[in-house]
Amino acid sequence: MATIYIDDKAVEATPGDSLLSVCLKNGIYVPHLCYLEELKETPASCRLCFVEVEGEPAPVTACTTMVREDLRVRTDTPEVRRLQRAALRLLLSVHRVDCGRCPANKHCDLQRIAALLGTGLKPKNLALLLREPQVVRVHPLFDYYPNRCVLCGRCVRLCRERHAMPLLTFADRGFSTTVTFYGQGNSEEIPCADCRACVKACPVAALWPRDSDAPVPGGEEEPSPNTAGSDPAEAGP
């Protein structure tokens, strides 16, 4: 075991463990979206879990920092908060804020992070860039809401880990990057109904069962053009 200091508090930790995991286990919340305790590799893609480590010139991501003896960490310096707020605002600038009709409401990681950082849910002076369609229905059981998705990739990675033949993947590039489903359209042939790992792991309910009893998600009134011949104007309530 090694002793490390997080915000001046001495913590015992196993060398080689991820610093983010240690923080979370010790009740120190560091904002994060892409990190999953159960998966060994972290993509370090959400760029939220910044901390300052003594000896490093700039904030580093806690998920990729390994525990070593005498590591001294600060989780709430102004520079850390500045980067976290910037990342959150960028995520909110592509997020359709419609919490009242979102099934993730009150369990949403974005809400939690926004509360911690005191930013509110507005992207401030950034342009709001939403995608069309609002709902993508290519998976036989789950709907995908691109304007909720933060592209943390938890779903893609879990699916890859659980199933020999993964059914979710990233597609497209740059700003158009999206999570998509590939495989058979027949719900009998896919393990999704019993697995649902992706839905459970999604921090923002961007993947949500179509047949769910949960509150009707916000995008329901504007179905995707992918769905056969549905015109938004004709769609029922």
Partner: protein, 644 residues
Amino acid sequence: MPTGNPKTIDQAFKDLREEARTRWEELRQTPGPKFRLGLATCGIASGALNTKVALEETLAERGIMAQIRTVGCMGHCYAEPLLVVENPGFPPLLYHQVSPGKAKMIVRSFLEGGDPLFEHVLGAMEENDMIPWIMDFPRFSNEVRVITALCGVVDPEEISDYIALGGYAALARALESEPEDLIRAVEEAGLRGRGGAGFPTGKKWRLCAQAAGKRKVVICNADEGDPGAYMDRTLLESNPHQVLEGMAICARAVGARRGIVYVRAEYPLAVRLITTAVQQAEKLGLLGESILGGDFSFHVQVFRGSGAFVCGEETALLRSIEGKRGMPRHRPPFPVQEGLEGLPTVINNVKTLASVPPIVEKGPKWFRGVGTPRSPGTAVFSVVGDVVHPGLVEIPMGTTLRSLIFDVCGGIPRRKSFKAVQIGGPSGGCLPEDFLDTPIDFDSLVEAGAMMGSGGMVVMDEDACMVDVARYFLDFTQKESCGKCTFCRIGTRQILEILERMTRGEGREEDLGLLETLADVVRRGSLCGLGKTAPNPVLTSLRYFREEYEAHVREKRCPSGTCRALTAFYIDLDLCARGCDACVGCCPVEAIFTTLNRKKGIDQTLCVKCGECVAACPEEYNAVKKVSPPHLAPIVERPPVQET
């Protein structure tokens, strides 16, 4: 590692070289005229294939026996297609822009008539007292060719050309050296990675050699993607064997048995030539199993990248070879520790690897004699844009930007003035005139806010709008971002939104500050090199050309008149000639009308600002003017349509 039987390797190589030299001498001694035609992509694009056909036909028609050798790129893009003619009795002459017609003319006038057609000669390839030597011209004499020494000399499809001129001698020597000595030679030479960041190559090799595991990999990164950059392509198309030789030496140094050339699929000729080169080298026992009969084996594959700019980033490149989506990952672990399929992997740029054979052959001291103490050796740039002599240039490190742009490349054409130079592609920066005396080396360029990059250099004259240039590069990076991390995926797009707003004349006062903030967080927060450097074009142009941004935002004015939404064309009625219809005829949208006194006016509501009328207006009138902001254009009423 045991070194095998030295005599065998040495003898095996000497035999190969003897054979190659004999063939080369036979080529040289063949009587009659000889032609050498540049047939790299640049030459082909300028019509060199047609030139070749015309040359062959004319020679056949006239019954002249002549030797035509095709070579790669000579580096002089402004003069393509390039043809070297060796006519007995004359020094070898270099002809520029040899169209099929000119090729016929050369055969008839020069070969048959003895008139070398001086007006089409760029220079003589050798010193003589008849025709100026090319080395008398700054475009040639300022270059120091190490990496591109044999480009345009050897036939890229003929391995024996390269061997005859000294090729693969360094590999033969490396096979008989201890790996440690090779690494030390590269360290002592101070070779730094030519891919952009300038990481010490020797250190990289040492880390890989020390990494645990017996299986190691050497990768040549030829995923060149910067707009306007073509150094790596040219090298692979002109002298692929120097790169392969560098790879094999690297493999020997780090103990790798497997090599991969990662080359863009958009470079079909480079792919074909490097593949041929690998096959030829394998056939002669210079690659493959037990090289030159020794106990060292090195197998090279060619892998074609499928068009993602981000795959030039080394971790994304590795994933791409593994068949996964090309997305960078966090480093460490670095590829030298855990690379391809988890094996220790050296990834070097094409030019880095091509620098290795000369270092092994001539020694680290010689290499250090070129360039600067902290950046030894040469730099290869593809200089494009507003220069008189664009092309591929190899100069010693430490040459100033001014010397490269004005002495070597001939300065700015059309009597315009220099405005900025963009170095390092989308990751680099735009430097203004004040920085022209900056020496070109890794550290000085970073200090100035740009970066060495892999060698793309775009020179811009006074007509370039820096806001538009920044917009262009951000448009590129946001499209090419892999989409993985928040800052790069959304941040670059938000920066682009602001820049587009400015070029449309919708910029707001707070946008300047917002741009700076966004650029700063994207730089600090992004996961990989692409995102970390993507804001550089914005940051440098904001730093050095802030007044242009302010003009766009505050006055809705584009000082260089580039941004269409912020400019207007009008016809100066004092200059316009009565009865001339040149502009009317060329306008694609019929926006130009005739006034009552038969002069011309532009209907601003119809004008699409293509600038065709400026080009069409006869020089003696020069009546079409461009203004920014657009409301400065005087309004000329369209006369009522007359019933006839």
